[in-house]
C-alpha cells in the first residue's frame, strides 16, 4: 500500500509540475493531465507481471511513470528535448518504451484499442504468456473500431484486458450526453466479453479487479472489460476551461473521493505508516519531480540532423 501511495503521489506531483511548466511556456501543444485518475494505472500495474504490455491514448504520463519509465525522460519529452524518450520528436501524446513494455501514447481517439489487440495477438502467436492492458476512455468507448476489436479479441480469445477509464467526460461532453448505454462494463455483453464496474478512485479495488481480469486473460479465456469509475480534476487538456461541470462537482470528488487522500487515511488508520514516513515519501517524490523538471529544461534541443532520422529503417534486408 505504501508503494502504491508513493506511485500515485509521484504521478500527481509530476502532473502538477507539468502543468506548471506548461504555464511557463516550456511545454507546448496538447498536454492532458492524469490528476485524479492515479489509482487506475497504479492498481493495474500492481496486477501484472514483467513482460505484460500497456498501451493507451494521449492521457499517458501516468502509465509511463507506473511502468517505471524515468520521470526525467518523460518530462524532457514534454519539453521537446533530446533527453526525452522519443528524443523530442513525439511529445506528450507520443512516447514509447519497448524496454518497459509501454507501447504508447496514441493521439487518435480509440486507435490504441485495435493496436492493443494486435499486441495481444502477437503474445498469443508467440505463446509467451503475456497479457496486454489496453486503456481507453469513455469517449473512445463510442468509436467503431473499439467494437471491431472486441469482436476479434473474443473471437480469437486474445490475452487482453480492456481498461475503460471512465472519467465521465469525453472532453466537454458528459457520458449521459454521449452514450446510450452509460454502464460501459456492459458494452462487451454482445461479444461474450465479461465486464466489471470498479471504483477507480480506490487503488486496492482496482488492483483486485485487475488481478482477476489478468488471470482470466492469461488463462486463455480471452478478454475482460474493467470499467474504472474515475474522475479528472483538470480540464481535458491545458486549454480547456472545463465550464461543462460545476466547481462544486469537482470539489466534491477532490474532498471526498481523492485516491491519494484515501490511501493516506488508510495507511494512517491501519497504522501501516506514520506521519514521518509519509513526509519522507512526499519529500523523495518532490525531489524526483524537481530533478525531472531541471533535466527537462537543461537537456538540449534535438540536433537538426534528427529532422530526417527515424523515418524509415535503412538496414539492408
Amino acid at each position: 500500500m505504501l508503494a502504491y501511495y508513493q506511485q500515485m503521489l509521484l504521478i500527481r506531483r509530476f502532473e502538477e509540475k507539468a502543468g506548471q511548466l506548461y504555464g511557463m511556456g516550456l511545454i507546448a501543444g496538447f498536454c492532458h493531465l492524469y490528476i485524479g485518475q492515479e489509482a487506475v494505472v497504479t492498481g493495474m500495474k500492481a496486477a501484472i507481471k514483467d513482460g505484460d504490455q500497456m498501451i493507451t491514448g494521449y492521457r499517458d504520463h501516468g502509465h509511463m511513470l507506473a511502468l517505471g519509465m524515468d520521470a526525467a525522460g518523460v518530462m524532457a519529452e514534454l519539453t521537446g528535448r533530446s533527453g526525452g524518450y522519443s528524443r523530442g520528436k513525439g511529445g506528450s501524446m507520443h512516447m514509447f518504451s519497448v524496454e518497459k513494455n509501454f507501447y504508447g501514447g496514441h493521439g487518435i481517439v480509440g486507435a490504441q484499442v485495435p493496436l492493443g489487440a494486435g499486441l495481444a495477438f502477437a503474445d498469443k502467436y508467440n505463446e509467451n504468456g503475456n497479457v496486454c492492458l489496453t486503456f481507453f476512455g469513455d469517449g473512445a468507448a463510442n468509436q467503431g473500431q473499439v467494437y471491431e476489436s472486441f469482436n476479434m479479441a473474443k473471437l480469437w480469445d486474445l490475452p487482453i484486458v480492456f481498461v475503460i477509464e471512465n472519467n465521465q467526460y469525453a472532453m466537454g461532453t458528459s457520458i449521459e450526453r454521449s452514450s446510450s448505454e452509460t454502464h460501459l462494463h456492459r458494452r462487451g455483453a454482445s461479444f461474450g466479453i465479461p465486464g466489471i464496474e470498479v471504483d477507480g478512485m480506490d487503488v486496492l479495488a482496482v488492483r483486485d479487479a485487475g488481478l482477476k481480469a489478468v488471470k482470466h486473460a492469461r488463462s486463455g479465456k480471452g478478454p475482460m472489460i474493467l470499467e474504472m469509475k474515475t474522475y479528472r480534476y483538470r480540464g481535458h487538456s491545458m486549454s480547456d476551461p472545463a465550464k461543462y461541470r460545476t466547481r462544486d462537482e469537482v470539489n466534491e470528488m477532490r474532498q471526498h473521493h481523492d485516491p491519494i487522500d484515501h490511501a493516506k487515511a488508510r495507511l494512517e488508520g491501519e497504522g501501516w505508516a506514520n506521519e514521518a514516513a509519509l513526509k519522507g515519501i512526499d519529500k523523495a517524490v518532490r525531489m524526483i519531480v524537481n530533478d525531472a523538471a531541471d533535466f527537462a529544461q537543461t537537456s538540449p534541443l534535438p540536433a537538426d540532423s534528427e529532422l530526417l532520422s527515424d523515418i524509415l529503417a535503412l538496414e539492408e534486408i
Partner: protein, 452 residues
C-alpha cells in the same frame, strides 16, 4: 524561500492575457490545487490553480489588469512560517532559453535504396506464371522462411482469397498463420499494426484498396509515423496488400488508384508492380523490409502470365525503377497496369518512327528519380501515364522533379496522361472515356515530339 507565481500560458497560442480577478487575498494560506485567480486567454476564461502550497504574501498584478505577458510574476508566495521578508530582492525568473533561429536549409531527400536488380546468369530458365500465383508464391516462400510472417484478411483462408491470390496457403500453413477476419478493415488493420509492434511480420490483405479507406488512419497514423514519433524505438514491419485502381464496371467506389495518396506519406514504402517477376521479387522484399509497405496490385492483370526467373530466392530491390523498353525519342514513365499500355503505345509509336523508352517505376515511394532523369536527359521528352486522377498525382510529382532536375534537357513541356477528373462512371462508354489507354499515351507522346 519566497517564490513568484507567474502569469501562466493556458493555451498553445497564448502570449498575454487579462488577469480578470483574484479569488484569494494577501495573507491567505493556499494549497496546491486551489483556484486562486481567473484569467482570460485568447480562447476562454480559465481558472488558475495553485501549484505549490504556502501563504500569498503579495499580489504584484491587481485584478482587472489587461495584457499581462505570459511568465510575468503576478504574486509572491512564501512557505509556511516564513516571513515575506525582502521581497524586492526576489530576482525575476529567467526567461526560458530562446529557441535558435530556424535554419532554412530544406530537408535533404531520404537516401534511396539504390542497388540494381540481381544479375541473372546467361541462360537462366524462365517459368510462365500468372501474376496471381507469383504473389502467392512470394508469400508462401517468405512464410516458409520466417515463422513470424502471417497473412490476415477477409476470405484469405477458407475461401482461398477473394481473387484466389492466397490459394493453398491455409492448407500449407494452417489457421494460426492464415487468418480469416471479420469485415472490419479499420479493426484488423490496427490489429495488424499492433502485431507488428509486438514483433510479428503481418501481411494484411485488403479485398481491394478501396476498402482500405476504412483503415487508412492506421496505415498512416499508426504504421507510418510511429518509428519517427518514438525516436526510432518502435518498428512496424507490415505489408498492406491487395488490388488497387479500376477493375471492370464496378463503379466509382471500387475503382480508385491510391498510389498518390500513399506516395505522399513519409514513413511508408509504396510499391506498384506490373509483371509477375517484379511482383514476386518485390513482395518478397516488402515482407522482409523493416518498414510498413503498401503493396498495390491490379485485379485486371491477376490472370495474365509472365516470365518469372526460375531461381531459388528471387528478391528485387525496393526503390529501383526498370527500363521496360529502351528508346531514344521520348520517355514514358508509368507503373502498374499502365506499363502494359505504355509498351503497346510504344509499338504503335515505333510504326510511326518514334522510338519510345518506357520506365516502369515499380516503387512509388521512394521514387527512383535517377533512372527517370537519366532517361529524359537522353530523350529530352517526358510523358507520364497513370490510372489515378492527374491533380496532385504521381505524374505531377514526376513532372515537377524532372522540370527541376533536368530543365535544360527538356525540348518540350512534359505531358501527363491520367484518368478524367471525375468519379469513375459505371456505364461502359463513360468508363472507357474516363480511363486512359494506349491511344492517350500515343497522342501525348506525339504531342511532346511535335509530330502530327
Amino acid at each position: 524561500m519566497p517564490t513568484h507565481i507567474l502569469m501562466p500560458a493556458l493555451s498553445p497560442t497564448m502570449e498575454e492575457g487579462t488577469l480578470t480577478k483574484w479569488l484569494v487575498n494577501e495573507g491567505d494560506t493556499i494549497s496546491a490545487g486551489d483556484v486562486i485567480a481567473e484569467i482570460e486567454t485568447d480562447k476562454a476564461t480559465m481558472e488558475v490553480e495553485a501549484v505549490d502550497e504556502g501563504t500569498l504574501a503579495k499580489i504584484l498584478v491587481p485584478g482587472g489588469s489587461e495584457n499581462v505577458a505570459v511568465n510575468a510574476p503576478i504574486a509572491i508566495l512564501v512557505e509556511e512560517g516564513e516571513e515575506a521578508g525582502d521581497l524586492d530582492a526576489l530576482a525575476a525568473p529567467s526567461a526560458p532559453a530562446a529557441e535558435p533561429a530556424p535554419s532554412n536549409e530544406g530537408p535533404q531527400s531520404q537516401p534511396h535504396i539504390a542497388v540494381s536488380d540481381p544479375d541473372l546468369p546467361e541462360g537462366t530458365a524462365m517459368v510462365q506464371v500468372t501474376l496471381r500465383d507469383a504473389l502467392r508464391d512470394a508469400m508462401a516462400e517468405e512464410m516458409r522462411r520466417d515463422d513470424k510472417v502471417f497473412l490476415m484478411g477477409e476470405e484469405v483462408a477458407q475461401y482461398q482469397g477473394a481473387y484466389k491470390v492466397s490459394r493453398g496457403l491455409l492448407e500449407e500453413f494452417g489457421p494460426k498463420r492464415v487468418i480469416d477476419t471479420p469485415i472490419t478493415e479499420y479493426g484488423f488493420a490496427g490489429l495488424g499494426v499492433g502485431a507488428a509492434f509486438g514483433g510479428l511480420r503481418p501481411i494484411v490483405e485488403f479485398m481491394t484498396f478501396n476498402f482500405a479507406m476504412q483503415a487508412i488512419d492506421h496505415i498512416i497514423n499508426s504504421a507510418a509515423k510511429t518509428r519517427y514519433m518514438s525516436g526510432g524505438q518502435m518498428s512496424c514491419p507490415i505489408v498492406f496488400r491487395g488490388p488497387n485502381a479500376a477493375a471492370s464496371r464496378v463503379g466509382a467506389q471500387h475503382s480508385q488508384d491510391y498510389a498518390p495518396w500513399y506516395g505522399h506519406v513519409p514513413g511508408l514504402i509504396v510499391i506498384a508492380p506490373y509483371g509477375a517477376a517484379d511482383a514476386k521479387g518485390l513482395l518478397k522484399a516488402a515482407i522482409r523490409d523493416p518498414n510498413p509497405v503498401v503493396f498495390l496490385e491490379h485485379e485486371l492483370i491477376y490472370g495474365e502470365t509472365f516470365d518469372v526467373p526460375d531461381v531459388d530466392d528471387w528478391v528485387l530491390p525496393i526503390g529501383k525503377a526498370r527500363i521496360a523498353r529502351k528508346g531514344s525519342d521520348v520517355t514514358i514513365v508509368t507503373y502498374s497496369r499502365m506499363v502494359g499500355y505504355a509498351l503497346a503505345a510504344a509499338e504503335s509509336l515505333a510504326a510511326e518512327g518514334i522510338d519510345a523508352e518506357v520506365v516502369d517505376l515499380r516503387t512509388i515511394r521512394p521514387l527512383d528519380m535517377e533512372t527517370v532523369i537519366n532517361s529524359v536527359k537522353k530523350t529530352n521528352r517526358l510523358v507520364t501515364a497513370e490510372e489515378s486522377w492527374g491533380c496532385m498525382g504521381v505524374g505531377a510529382e514526376i513532372a515537377a522533379a524532372v522540370t527541376i532536375g533536368a530543365f535544360d534537357y527538356l525540348d518540350a513541356p512534359p505531358a501527363r496522361v491520367h484518368q478524367v477528373e471525375a468519379p469513375l462512371a459505371y456505364a461502359e462508354n463513360l468508363e472507357k472515356l474516363a480511363l486512359p489507354g494506349p491511344g492517350d499515351i500515343v497522342r501525348a507522346a506525339k504531342g511532346v515530339c511535335y509530330a502530327e
